[in-house]
Amino acid sequence: MTGKNLHSDQIYIDGLLQNNSDVIQTIYKRFVPKIKNHIRNNSGNDDDAQDIVQEVLIVIYNQARTNGLQLTCPFDAYFFLLCKRRWLNELKKRSHKEVTIPEHLVSIDEPVQGMVSRTEIFDEKQSLFDEMFQKLGEKCRELLQLSFVTKTMEEVAEKLNVSYGYVRKKKSLCTGQLTEMIRQSDRYKSFKN
């Protein structure tokens, strides 16, 4: 990814990552109306559009924060395609059958396609992590959650009323257990290719 040219629209990704309200508002003003129209014209309403847009922006934020996200195509095209595909999936879920939305946009640029599929793979991975996290024991979940909510492990130890050494060790073992569960899942095996 590093060899490619960063697009100047990277400012939107960075703005999301920094929780910059001006940037988020600009995204809503500049890019969301088109998505609203698309969803309205394809069996949806404004509530649907609101949800889809919010979900996609959270996925972009998560990807940028977790693995870094370097935009190599215009934000508009990338964001629109993500929303459009997510809405298509939602329609399929609702109707339990294949749905096709007429393709007006002729061809989609290869860089946009690549960016979008990387984000979709990330989203899949995120849901695998979430699913496996829920399968951890309660003690592990609590400790892990607390150790990322709280600033330092000393504070975590204090809150749980145990020693620092114990929480440190327990945190590594719980994370290790989570990686073990992820590794053994069939879904993870499919990402590795």
């Binding site: 609101q50 924060r65 990322f148 809150k159 440190r168 290790g176 989570l178």
Partner: protein
């Protein structure tokens, strides 16, 4: 499960290795593909956890929600519906009101979270605190602007007293962030502060709000008779039966 392996990963990620340990570790990363693969997944998992639970992510989501509501709210308000009211419609409206009232009275047997959400006011900043976020959190909390209160709480450097955690947790329940509220409340319950039993009470209310009656009931039963909320807890227990 290889304990040593994971403890090593954690030490390396936190930069807590002696120079020679670190050198060995990095050499192994280079030469041992399986070790490398295990480490890669461990590091990625850590980043996923960090993204999922960091207060910054929570603040981003809150902010995004607020901006989204602002944006979509406006577009809905653009087409106000004007309906002229005719006399016969008053009669219809009146009978609807009566119907509604009856329905409401029939519903009121089931206890709801909203019957109990009269929270005490927060007053924690007089004690020489200079922290602006803390002051904001207090003010937003008292004016029932819980989303904003949550954002401000999360900007506070350390929420290190049970009192602050207690109010933070209430704001989380109000904004339906139940799992985070549970983490905070459970940590208060494990301590020995005066907020210990209050935390149990709110954890029960959080379950009530999620309509998990069973869980709510079992928490209520854990509130001892000398607790401030004991009477309310008994009342709610009766209503739930």
């Amino acid at each position: 499960m290889n304990e040593e392996l994971y403890i090593g990963f954690e030490n390396y990620l936190n930069n807590e290795m002696l120079p020679e340990e670190k050198l060995d570790f990095e050499q192994r990363l280079q030469n041992d593909p399986e070790f490398r693969e295990y480490f890669r997944l461990y590091a990625e998992t850590t980043r996923f956890l960090d993204t999922s639970f960091s207060p910054e992510t929570a603040a981003f989501k809150e902010n995004l929600k607020a901006i989204s509501r602002e944006h979509f709210g406006e577009s809905l308000k653009k087409q106000p519906k004007v309906i002229s009211f005719r006399p016969w419609q008053y009669a219809v409206a009146a009978s609807i009101t009566i119907l509604f009232g009856t329905w409401f009275m029939m519903q009121s047997n089931d206890p709801e979270y909203n019957d109990f959400n009269q929270h005490e006011k927060a007053y924690f900043t007089e004690r020489g605190s200079e922290d602006k976020s803390l002051k904001d959190a207090q003010d937003f909390f008292n004016s029932k602007e819980y989303q904003k209160a949550v954002v401000s709480f999360e900007k506070v450097a350390v929420l290190d007293t049970p009192e602050l955690q207690y109010f933070y947790a209430i704001a989380l329940i109000e904004t339906n962030d139940f799992s985070k509220a549970a983490v905070v409340l459970n940590s208060i319950r494990q301590g020995n502060s005066i907020y210990k039993d209050k935390a149990t009470w709110y954890l029960a209310l959080s379950e009530l709000k999620q309509h998990k009656t069973q869980e709510c009931r079992s928490l209520l039963k854990q509130i001892p008779p000398d607790a401030e909320d004991f009477d309310k807890a008994q009342e709610l227990l009766e209503d739930l039966d």
